[in-house]
Symmetry: C2
Subunit: 393 residues, 2 copies
Amino acid sequence: MTRIPVPSGSLYGLANLPYGVFSPDGGEPRVGVRVADSVVDLAAVLGDDVFSWPSLNAFMEQGHERWVEVREHIIDAVSDDLPDEAVHAVDAVTLHLPFEVADYVDFYASEHHASNLGRLFRPDSEPLMPNWKHLPVGYHGRAGTVVPSGTGIVRPSGQRKAPDEAAPSFGPCRRLDIEAEVGFVVGTGSPLGAPVAVDEFAERVFGVVLVNDWSARDVQAWEYVPLGPFLGKSFATSVSPWVVPLLALEAARVPTPLQDPEPLPYLREKNPWGLDLDLVVEWNGQVVSRPPYREMYWSPAQMLAHMTVNGASSRTGDLFASGTVSGPEKDQRGAFIELTWGGKEPLEVGGEPRTFLEDGDTVTISATAPGPGGARLGLGAVTGRVLPAAPLG
Amino acid sequence: MTRIPVPSGSLYGLANLPYGVFSPDGGEPRVGVRVADSVVDLAAVLGDDVFSWPSLNAFMEQGHERWVEVREHIIDAVSDDLPDEAVHAVDAVTLHLPFEVADYVDFYASEHHASNLGRLFRPDSEPLMPNWKHLPVGYHGRAGTVVPSGTGIVRPSGQRKAPDEAAPSFGPCRRLDIEAEVGFVVGTGSPLGAPVAVDEFAERVFGVVLVNDWSARDVQAWEYVPLGPFLGKSFATSVSPWVVPLLALEAARVPTPLQDPEPLPYLREKNPWGLDLDLVVEWNGQVVSRPPYREMYWSPAQMLAHMTVNGASSRTGDLFASGTVSGPEKDQRGAFIELTWGGKEPLEVGGEPRTFLEDGDTVTISATAPGPGGARLGLGAVTGRVLPAAPLG
């Protein structure tokens, strides 16, 4: 039997307990929970086959009451001795995509990010569109290209046309960027015709992941009118391996910034679901930004209510992400296009001036949140390395 | 034993043989093929369990060679006597969504439609965006709200702001519209990092459905900048119950209209995949439009090549639709916003002037295609009735 040591100050103590899908050396993927530097095999410990699946979906589908119950069982179990074969060192296992993605929606909920991108993409217009403060602007992304942290990111090729070029050309992306985002995983879906009320958020949403919405800015700038981003985004969206349950984030809840004008009634929260998450963006191991999630204008509860207010159904495994998290300060911006102001103000990375991503670069986004009694919780990390473009066919 | 009578002139003769998912009275959903006015239970006739699934996905995943082989087996089998219990009257079965939708992408491939919508949505700008003739513009839609023909369409509610209103209001859509489209179902997917060449289309795509991309124009007009349509579309997208195999459409192949400027090399087709489909739009039983698919600027092979050229993977069950099919003539427009020029030129329907959809209205889109030897093939029909908005919560 094994007792998992939990050092004081661990970001993965008993107040956190994020879920993931792992395979032990030579074993099949299954659901685990992270405790300090260990992964606990939940099927082995709790004896429930729902954790033998290679995704969290079957468990998430069981609903909120069950999530509460299982969390209590886990806290009991991991506070005691566990069978040796149920405990693995986190460094010794392979981590997978933790859930099967149903639909993927990406919002645009940071006022700072939306204003910065407005200035960069549409320099002759108002930075924020007239609708922006009335609704959380969002769009659907490609669910099939959501990939687990660690997946290599092949530089995409595509059509791009610089403003000074007469015609578009085809080739590898020249402005490869990141977007540091927070993603929300729907645990229990809602049927067609039944909008999710803004106060049902915690009942429906299972947990939180970190997201890197890799972006080919040159492709995006050329393609995105009038139907929105498509190939500039759909080549890869990375998510962190650990889903932090919403149940662990009570101490992280904060009000959103003042919303003025007051949103329409279906977007008014009784109990705010802003979140006090501190993100950190590392470029080749060097911290280049610390985006504060608490600055996000729209809350995830408002995003879910908006996404379904037209009667659209939601499903277990739906992922909706916040859009780039950017704060008011320059070193709080969650995308390189903002950090380098469209490439005009290079950052010093590894002693060299840098703008967009080069082949071989690695980007890691991590985050922490306040937990109960002054503890900090970790949100795992989402990382990816840029690989050279495939040879043109 | 039963021999299925196939009247000469049937749109569902042996040259067609579309696949669907049906349940006989009291039975489980399974794969069938339509022959004249009958549905043949494929698991019962061919003895292969892949047809016992409640979707075509497992069969589609087997790949092109197998599709060819099964089609030959079906032609042999249905030309002969069949066991009584394997044959059902099409009117006596329930038809379901024929495939599980992985990702859903909607293109915008009609020059006439894109120009008309440009004039209506952005009257002060050029109707076509600068990118339009260089790439098939498209975006991701909501896979989870693709519904089978016959599903009632509850009028969506949402935010909308008329140009003369100071602020948006919330309420039922006032400009509910259709889009008559043709959809293409990916049979065999492609891995991340491996673009599908434009000439691989017929190898990868299993078949064709009709699509009604219901559209809340007032919601769409307010929300769609800068990230594209979202809730104005995501409440429902209806598809026809029969997937016509690409193998049945050889005689329908035509070149696309002249593409000028010449597209970039990855979009150049050696063997054109324009399709000579004649669509018919009926509003409460009255034909209001006959959109010609042969007028579409971009071919579906170009759409698939574009959709994956950035390295995005594709999956069995991916659905990509053409966007509204509109021809150059007024009575060839595939959306009411075009047919009534933004509501300013009502149509006479059932003796009354009509612009957008009212509760209780029914829209049916059907199509035919040339088959071998002068035969016509039917594409089934996609139909839906508008139901009143849900009471506001």
